[in-house]
Amino acid sequence: MSCAAGEPCEEGGRRRRALAVLGLMGAIFIVLSLASFLGSRGQVVPASVSYAGFDAVQGKRVFQAYNCMGCHTIVGNGAYFAPDLTKLYGRVGPAWLEAFLPSAGSWPTSTAVALQLRDAATAGEAGTASIDTYLKKYPAAAERVERRGGHTTLMPNLPLSRNEVRELIAFLKYSSTMNTEGWPPTPRAAGLALAKAATLPAAQAATVAAATTTAPASAAQRGADLAQSTGCMACHSKGGERLVGPGWGGLYGSDVAFADGSSARADDAYLTQSIVDPDARVVKDYVPHVMPAYAGVLDTAQVADIVAYIRSLQGGQP
């Protein structure tokens, strides 16, 4: 089976020569590797990137903790089940991500993105506080808002905290500024303008159009439309189940326990306050700063319509 003691093995000499060549290959590999991570190359490092005061390195920990790579890809590596995230920040901008990540089960509407721009830090990172300018600056955000806004996504809601959301955005900001040698390739074809690609979006546009043509009759009906277009339904279900926020079915008139130990009846006044200034009283088991304040986004009549809609859902599913 083996070379007997003292008897030279047939491959002995070849083995030494092969090892020498292998050593040469190893040396080339090590030199190339060292050259890859020289500071003079100017590759961005996460320690130098922050977003609204949050750290990209911490964001990478969040990215790994939720195993984002298990569905998405980053620099093309991962699971091919969901889009590549490498350049996402540069394309959709921070406000869209701020609106999307806390309630990933639903595509943000224009109002939801505009709401995030009211935050000075977000607006500063985005370079504008105006939604119109924002959507011009980030066409991929405009495309998402126009075509997908208000619809459900295929991503599950994740229990991301407010800080985790911003850390993740810091990480995505880092990845999108990385030099990836031209990958992913920039498409030359205007995808959506091609006849081959137009079938599905057109069909969806028709459904959306059909839904908006009927004039709202009652306050509750107006509230329902408003809740849809504003993006409330991204976090609140019409039934009783909790998505990101509490379900609206059966909420009206129920007793609400707060984090500070007090409680209240969910009436018009309470619901109005919860929409306009949600952090005034935080409900038990909920995290503050997740729900944005809608003061100045919705006027008094609109808030009243939404409250009327919630009232109409008293018996659960209408």
């Binding site: 093995c9 292998l22 991570f37 390195v57 920990r61 790579m69 298990g70 091919y80 920039t186």
Partner: protein, 559 residues
């Protein structure tokens, strides 16, 4: 039939059985993934896709490792001509592996809550990196397990001066298995540096270590099955390993094209990883030569069928499909799409999974003392998993081509609205072939678990005509089959290259779809027919000489 001479060989049995059970679970998770691909809301919020996928990839690695350990323990005493060192440690290794499996399956679910168990900057419970999802606790246990394996192999083998090429392959293989693992045990802040080291583990395991263990084990199984000359097999093992390392060391660069590392890797990666199929062609050719060095019939057809499957799918999945996407100009399109899935499934299950199953089919009857066993379930199971896997590969490749076109060429990035609906046909094909595969997997696991324990069925010898399709397979004919596979591989490569054409970039899918439509089915059908032809020609051999051959193997081992 050879007898079990060394009692410590029997320690391999538990690793083979564990391998089979994990294989079934991995297949079940894979089937669930196909369901989630078709309906992404399936179990969303309960068992999210990323968790199921982590279980699928991790179990895939763990059962292959379990099979490797079983195979090494089984051949170890034969190579050493003495009992294995430290059987107590081997028993400990088994329970450690079992604990790692259960712990890891449980901790992956924590990703849904974003819990990684950070402690001193390290994720203790799970770390959310593809293939390396296991947390640091498991990493350390695995490292200890590898160290035990190293200790057992090195202590059992004869002194280094008496090593032949198979000793060298396995000895260096298990050592490198341990050392390379260490590079995956750190949290790295930078994406580029993290990917750089992650591929140390993934690439160097697969193409540096597993491949070396694969070459050595295939070589030794050929010695056992065909009385092949140890010296000549040793020659093949030497060249196989040399070529694997000379091409694979710098070939790793094909993972460094787009991860934030400099452009020069595109040159080195394209050049050296294009050479990576060379050792596989070498291994393929030697399998042919060794199987034909005498006309003796095969005593154990299922074992050889899986061994042949392993070497052929290594050629097709790792060699040819790997080659098609190894150039920077093709990889820029295939990277991050389903196209790579076809390569990964065929290469990983084909090369390493089938080797573990082949060894189990060889070793389990010997350890259970079954001389003649009913080989029909094993043969049927082989055909089911083999065609199932080729079909899966076809579905992934076609789905991937569509994905490249829609996602990269047209730039449509709405997965729910555009990309997934465009891939729907392929996504529906996956569970179809997945079911075929699952039935085969279930059959072979049942067959191997109960082999020798259930009442033996009477062996029905079906005579196969040794002419035409069953006639002797000549070297020329084998060469032509191999050439045909590579021609289709070239068509696939041109298809991927055609994404660079101006006309395709302007929105015409004609070239890439046409080339993929010819290349993939052509390659996979050629593979299927070649294996059918090969096995048929072996089945047609004269059964009378079977007994002589077994005696001969025992004699060659005693030499």
């Amino acid at each position: 039939m050879i007898r079990i001479e060394y009692q410590t060989q029997r320690l391999s049995l538990r690793f083979f059985l564990l391998m089979l059970v994990l294989f079934l679970f991995q297949t079940a998770f894979g089937l669930l993934l196909t369901g989630q691909h078709i309906d992404p809301t399936l179990l969303a919020g309960t068992l999210n896709f990323n968790v199921v996928r982590a279980e699928h990839t991790n179990l895939g690695i763990l059962w292959v490792l379990s099979g490797f350990i079983g195979a090494i323990l089984f051949v170890g005493p034969l190579l050493s001509k003495r009992e294995l060192a430290a059987p107590g440690l081997i028993r400990l290794l088994f329970y450690a592996l079992l604990a790692v499996v259960l712990w890891n399956v449980a901790t992956q679910v924590l990703a849904e809550q974003g819990i990684a168990g950070w402690w001193l900057g390290q994720p203790l419970l799970q770390e959310g990196l593809e293939y390396l999802e296991a947390g640091r606790i498991v990493d350390v246990v695995i490292l200890v397990g590898f160290a035990i394996l190293c200790h057992v192999v090195w202590r059992s083998f004869p002194p280094i001066s008496q090593w032949n090429e198979i000793h060298w392959g396995l000895g260096i293989g298990v050592l490198a298995l341990t050392l390379v693992w260490i590079f995956g045990m750190f949290f790295v802040e930078r994406i580029d540096l993290q990917e750089y080291f992650r591929w140390y583990v993934v690439h160097y395991w697969v193409e540096g270590v597993w491949e070396v263990i694969h070459i050595s084990l295939v070589g030794f199984l050929l010695v056992l099955m065909f009385r092949a000359d140890v010296k000549s097999v040793g020659f093949a093992v030497f060249w196989g390993i040399s070529l694997v390392w000379l091409s694979g060391l710098l070939g790793n660069a094909h993972h460094y094209f787009w991860v934030g590392t400099p452009e020069f890797w595109q040159f080195w990666g394209s050049l050296f990883s294009a050479l990576e199929p060379l050792p596989l062609i070498f291994c393929f050719w030697h399998l042919y030569l060794d199987a034909h060095q005498d006309g003796a019939p095969l005593a154990n057809m299922p074992a050889f069928a899986f061994l042949l499957g392993s070497v052929v799918l290594e050629q097709v999945g790792a060699g040819i499909l790997g080659f098609t996407m190894t150039f920077a100009l093709t990889n820029v399109w295939s990277h991050g799409t389903w196209v790579t899935l076809s390569h990964a499934h065929l290469a990983l299950f084909g090369t390493f999974g089938m080797l573990g199953i082949a060894t189990a089919y060889y070793a389990i009857p010997l350890m259970r003392g079954v001389g003649q066993f009913d080989q029909r379930p094993g043969r049927l199971a082989f055909w089911l998993v083999f065609t199932g896997m080729l079909g899966l590969c076809f579905a992934f490749a076609i789905g991937g081509t569509v994905q490249v076109y829609v996602y990269r060429t047209l730039g449509l990035d709405w997965f729910g609205g555009e990309v997934a609906p465009a891939m729907l046909f392929a996504k529906l094909l996956v569970p179809v072939f997945g079911l075929v595969f699952t039935i085969g997997a279930g059959l072979l696991v049942y067959d191997l678990l109960t082999l020798g324990l259930r009442a033996p069925a009477p062996a029905v010898a079906r005579p196969v005509a040794a002419t035409g399709w069953g006639g002797r397979l000549s070297g020329w004919e084998t060469g032509l089959w191999l050439l045909a596979m590579w021609v289709f591989g070239a068509v696939i490569t041109l298809g991927l290259l055609s994404f660079n054409l101006r006309t395709v970039q302007d929105g015409s899918m004609l070239f890439p779809y046409l080339m993929a439509g010819i290349g993939y089915p052509g390659l996979l059908l050629t593979t299927l027919l070649f294996v059918a032809r090969f096995l048929r020609s072996l089945a047609a051999r004269d059964p009378v000489a079977a007994a002589d051959q077994a005696v001969g193997v025992a004699a060659s081992l005693a030499r």
